[in-house]
Amino acid sequence: MKPIQDIESVTIRFAGDSGDGMQVTGNQFTITTAIARNDLSTLPDFPAEIRAPAGTLYGVSGFQIQFSSEQVHTPGDAADVLVAMNPAALQAGLKYLKNNGIIIINTDAFSDRNLKMANFQENPLENGRLKGYQVFPVEMSRLTKEALETVDLSHKEKERCKNFFALGMIYWMYTRSLDPTVQWIEKKFASKPVWIEANTLALKAGRNYAEATEIFTTAYRVVKAKIEPGIYRQITGNEAIAIGLIAAGEKAGVNIFYGSYPITPASEVLQYMALYKNFGVKTLQAEDEIAAIGAAVGASFAGNIGVTATSGPGVALKSEFMGFAVMVELPLVIINIQRGGPSTGMPTKTEQADLLQSLYGRSGEAPIPVIAASSPADCFHTAYEAVKVATQFMTPVMMLSDVYLANGAEPWKIPDVDKLSPVDIHYARAGDAYAPYRRNDKTLARKWALPGTPGLEHRLGGLEKEDVTGNVSYDPDNHDKMTRYRAEKVARIADFVEEPQIYGEPQGDVLVISWGSTYGTVLTVVERLIKAGKKVSFYHLRWLNPLPHGLETHLQNFKKVLVPEINLGQLRQILRSRYLIDVTGFNKVRGLPISVQELQAEIEKMIEEL
């Protein structure tokens, strides 16, 4: 046996042509790694094109995973290992690879044509271009076909199994069991036994090849991480949203009405919701974003919980109805899965630049509570909480996610259904003396009166309403009063929702504040800096509106406050205005998550300069 070396954490990037099955490969590696009890985080990196011609640079499909014996919060800035199935994958993948990183290459794909398409003037395997990396050239296509000699498939079909050959090699390198993947193959191809045979053979052949050949000298082991006991599954942000919404609907005992119009990266949520009709979920693919939210508002009026999801350009279209929902004070959840903007922008790239739009993108004083998810699995809890607040306060709620969370996946500890917090709804009942705009003392919420209930007939609309009665009113003082009620109602949400906990000491040199998907990066950096003895702490905002009560004190307890954001400083602006504190921003608008390395460097510099 070759020697086995223990290491703490590894980042692997699988890259190949869109047709090379890299997402399957990545997902299989992920599950196996999770079962081996490492902590992990993953990120697929799809091409923007639907199906680019084979071999092109823009057709490269990637999948990155970081796994560790410690806690992991990001898929890793840069990879230790790059698996490159063709020249384009190599070309595109090199910039993600660490110096001295490992490259495993399918040399069979290095034809002149493919090299040219990948913008290589010469074969990089031959001209020293890969100096400084540990290169493992493997004739994967040929070896796969050889291993499958006896299988009853065409040459072309056999070659399609080469991703399992590659996976087999990586399993050997990281001392992983093949069993979970073999079981998955058996289930997946249950109706096509020949493919079970082929894929399993390829997988094993890859493992055996790595074990046998002299080019692989060492295998690695990442020991088990301390992970909370429980049942886990791998979940993407979009899937988690769907499940969170359904859970909230079930807990409330109310049907979810999900009206949406497809848009990257939100379409998937509609696709998931449409599957779950047996939960009484109602899905409508409307003719546009306006109709989608309009139907959701209508459904809320009639007693379902209206939900709609979209991305930036769709939010713009929905904003008139969001203002309307503020006026009629009905429960509604609007989900914005942010992407690179402005305009059509970079639809498949991540960004956090819709925060100010969420807060202010409506005419008049139209306050809406805003909550943001911090990780793929957290999308479940965030969607759940959005529904809960929407019904409790009779208000539209905006939930923010982004491309990175939507497509990214991480292990989700499956919660106990019975322990989910209740979703309470205050209905007006037949027989009540109903005044549509009479408010609850504490929440300021009005009551929900459902059409169909005798005696509660009433009329709602977008014109200003008289306090209590809800009749149309142009009275100046009433308008001022109602405007302040609407603001105060949203402000009071802070009295009811859980406050975030500060991570690290309650005072020190630098407080890092984040929101949304930068959570993982910031947590990783702050953990490292604390380990290194720096006086750095971390406060992650879940609700962006209203801000938590405790925030102000925290801000005052640090010499510097840093807000890293994938925008030009939107939360920073809010905090400065609200607390008059000279908050510093760290802003990269590159369509990519902020990297651990660059953020760490920034904070270290900040501390030095104190």
């Binding site: 599950i31 999770a34 079962i35 009890r37 909370e228 429980g230 049942i231 886990y232 599954r233 979940i235 499940i243 359904i246 859970a247 079930e250 009405f257 009206g259 779950y276 009709k277 047996n278 939960f279 009484g280 109602k282 409508l284 409307a286 003719e287 546009d288 306006i290 109709a291 989608a292 309009g294 139907a295 959701a296 508002v297 209508g298 459904a299 809320s300 009026f301 009639a302 379902n304 008139e320 309307f324 009629v328 499956i414 919660p415 259904v417 459902l450 059409p451 169909g452 209930t453 005798p454 005696g455 509660l456 007939e457 009433h458 009329r459 709602l460 609309g461 977008g462 014109l463 009749n471």
Partner: protein, 342 residues
């Protein structure tokens, strides 16, 4: 029928009157429509609490405030979208969309047509006054070419929509027209709309006394209207005129007006069929208003049943539930690849 229908009806009518002051201009055609609606509602057999009126923005769209049922005065052009949510959330409700020509054919055209194609079981009442009333007199997509309005001081250039042709092109299953001044006809038409299972579209010619007075004079002026109006009745020939002395017949694929002056002159007269499966017939009816030589048809153009959206929508939910079993959260949570850490 009750012993004293007159009294009953009156009390029932009051039953649907809301406590809000009606704020249309004195003389506006909207009043007559409101009166008929309040009269018809008690007769359609749906209790007040199951009736929902949904409107966009415009003079017409203030309507829901004046009916004592559930009401939703939404945003400009979007009532069909909201109505879709209301009806799918609770298919038992009797849903009425009240809209104006600007509301439904300008900003809201798309929603209206998608509603028609889906055939949601709701009733759409379009108050067509060929003008923007609430915003004080701009031309609308039904204003005729050459019309001078505040925004077309030198005359409008836009060929108007033919609302009937448009909704037929979108596949509307029930299409009718009535007139604010013809109260009985209006009441009857509303009842037919309510009775139709599917998306009912009713165009009401409505006089805006302030900004477009007399737009429909040719069909409302007692002196001339008989010559210009064709009452559609299922199974009856297309005959009109004060003395029923004119009829419509088909020449090739074209409608022609014919003087009826002898028994054989009736040969070839078209007979109205609401359920005519031939697309062309109803379409030709819709186009009559574009022909100065033909009368304006009013009444039910088409009443064809096909599955309603709410019906198949709920059915699919039932079918899937039947097949998969009622959803169970615990099972949903543990779908896919799971693993256990102890």
């Amino acid at each position: 029928m009750a012993d004293n229908p007159a009294v009953d009806q009156k009390s029932a009518k009051a039953n649907f009157a809301s406590d809000q002051d009606v704020r249309w201009c004195p003389g506006c055609g909207d009043y007559a429509i409101l009166a008929q609606m309040k009269k018809v509602l008690p007769e359609i057999g749906v209790p007040r609490e199951k009736v929902v009126f949904i409107s966009g923005i415009g003079c017409a769209s203030r309507f829901p405030y004046y009916i004592n049922s559930y009401g939703f005065h939404t945003i400009h052009g979007r009532a069909p979208a909201v109505a879709t949510g209301v009806k799918l959330a609770n298919p038992e409700l009797s849903v009425w969309i009240i809209t104006g020509d600007g509301d439904s054919l300008s900003i809201g055209g798309n929603h209206l047509l998608h509603l028609c194609r889906r055939n949601l079981n709701v009733n759409i009442i379009l108050f067509n006054n060929q003008i923007y009333g609430l915003t004080k007199g701009q031309y609308s997509p039904t204003s005729p070419v050459g019309k001078r309005t505040k925004t077309t001081p030198y005359g409008s250039l836009d060929t108007p929509f033919n609302p009937m042709s448009l909704v037929l092109g979108a596949g509307a299953s029930f299409v009718a027209r009535t007139i604010d001044r013809d109260t009985k006809h209006m009441a009857a038409t509303f009842k037919r709309a309510a009775a139709h299972k599917g998306c009912s579209f009713v165009e009401v010619y409505q006089n805006c006394i302030i900004f477009n007075d007399g737009a429909f004079q040719s069909v409302t002026d007692p002196k001339i209207k008989q010559e210009n109006l064709l009452y559609l009745e299922d199974g009856r020939e297309l005959v009109y005129g004060a003395d029923n002395d004119k009829g419509i017949r088909l020449e090739g694929l074209k409608l022609e007006a014919a003087a009826l002056n002898g028994p054989e002159s009736r040969n070839g007269l078209l007979k109205h069929q609401e359920t005519m499966p031939d697309e062309a017939y109803t379409y030709l009816l819709s186009k009559m208003t574009e022909r100065p030589d033909l009368p304006t048809p009013i009444g039910v153009f088409r009443a064809l049943e096909r599955p309603t959206y709410d019906e198949v929508f709920m059915q699919q939910i039932d079918d899937v539930t039947q097949k998969k079993g009622k959803g169970n959260l615990k099972e949903l949570f543990i779908t896919g690849n799971t693993w256990k850490v102890d």
